[in-house]
């Protein structure tokens, strides 16, 4: 059983000053400890995150989402986290889903949020189709059978962290994580979550062209 006070929520943020304070506020009001990794933002992301009540770790150079998540995870472990939640900075996740993810860790090493088991608000048809095909590709690469392979909302046991070290600095970290779950034969569970797409999160999201970059990274940078 994991408690609120030995859980850290890791949020990787790059130029999210517009929304980060609200996102962190929601987490802090829920009683969670949050660390924001400001990935070399050029706006006031760090100050806003601090104002919202998060611990802030700042990359002096932009290193990508995968690198930022790993930094946040390392920091959380340093601070004594027994469980880690990864949470997107753009406001697409719902803090109310965290208890279910944490509860799932009782029987698993890692719990992955799934928007296809849960609810998707505001996504266009095209985006859903893209996410579904990305999940198929990812399942093919990792050998896992998931309904949603790229959800940023997850819960990880601290004991599984060493086996899941992310070396993919940019977006291929999501697929890398799945491959490592499979290689280490970790127990994985999917938990329904709610994703709220807003104009802001859609703009920050990954388009079809980036998929090529992600695949390139996956194959040639490991």
């Amino acid at each position: 059983m994991f408690r609120t006070d030995d859980t850290w929520v890791v949020v990787a943020a790059f130029n999210e000053a517009a929304v980060i304070e609200g996102v962190i506020g929601e987490l802090v009001r829920g009683g969670w400890r949050a660390v924001v990794v400001d990935d070399g933002s050029t706006d006031a992301t760090a100050q806003k995150a601090r104002a919202g009540g998060a611990a802030v770790v700042r990359h002096s150079i932009n290193r990508g989402q995968g690198a930022a998540l790993q930094t946040g995870i390392d920091y959380a472990i340093r601070r004594g986290a027994r469980a880690i939640i990864t949470f997107d900075a753009d406001g697409q996740h719902d803090a109310a889903d965290i208890p279910a993810l944490l509860a799932a860790l009782d029987d698993a090493d890692i719990a992955l949020g799934s928007r296809f088991l849960g609810t998707i608000e505001g996504a266009t048809r095209g985006r859903r189709a893209m996410l579904r095909s990305a999940t198929k590709v990812s399942n093919g690469l990792s050998g896992l059978k998931l309904t949603d392979a790229h959800c940023g909302l997850r819960a990880i046991r601290a004991s599984a962290v060493p086996q899941l070290r992310l070396s993919q600095d940019r977006m291929a970290h999501a697929s890398e994580l799945l491959r490592k779950i499979r290689l280490a034969r970790l127990r994985v569970i999917e938990v329904p979550v709610t994703i709220r797409y807003t104009e802001h999160s859609m703009r920050k999201g990954q388009g079809g062209l980036q998929a090529i970059r992600i695949l390139f990274d996956y194959f040639f940078r490991s």
């Binding site: 990794v37 611990a55 770790v57 990359h59 002096s60 150079i61 690198a67 920091y75 340093r78």
Partner: protein, 126 residues
């Protein structure tokens, strides 16, 4: 025969650079000089390359040199790509180390400016 002058001049320039930056093992420098000398010989006696090409089953010396050059360039590219990726990883590791260290230092010993931030800014301007 301007081209011979240009090519040999180019080889000589490379040799000079390598000689000036000789911080590597003598073996590396020897290897570079051997290659440069081989190149110079090929420039002065081009027919020699055709003889070598024929032994290897290639029709013309120029073709052989093209093939070798392509493979060499590809090898160099892969080599530097690997180096580049390694360097990227090292930069990430350092950035991470620095970020966590700074966060921990700030937590244990929060920065206490001796003067109020407004005054500090004013004094920096003057």
């Amino acid at each position: 025969m301007m081209i011979r002058v240009l090519l040999i001049g180019g080889f000589a320039a490379i040799g000079w650079f390598v000689f000036r930056r000789r911080n590597r093992l003598p073996l590396h420098i020897m290897l570079v000089f051997l290659l440069l000398i081989a190149g110079a010989i090929a420039v002065v006696f081009p027919m020699l390359t055709t003889d070598v090409a024929n032994v290897l089953g290639v029709g013309r010396g120029a073709d052989l040199i093209t093939y070798i050059a392509i493979v060499t360039v590809m090898f160099v590219l892969v080599h530097y790509y690997t180096k580049f990726a390694e360097l990227q990883q090292q930069v990430t590791d350092l950035t991470r180390e620095l970020a966590i260290l700074r966060a921990e230092v700030d937590r244990v010993a929060p920065p206490t400016p001796a003067v109020a931030p407004d005054e500090q800014r004013a004094s920096e301007r003057s």
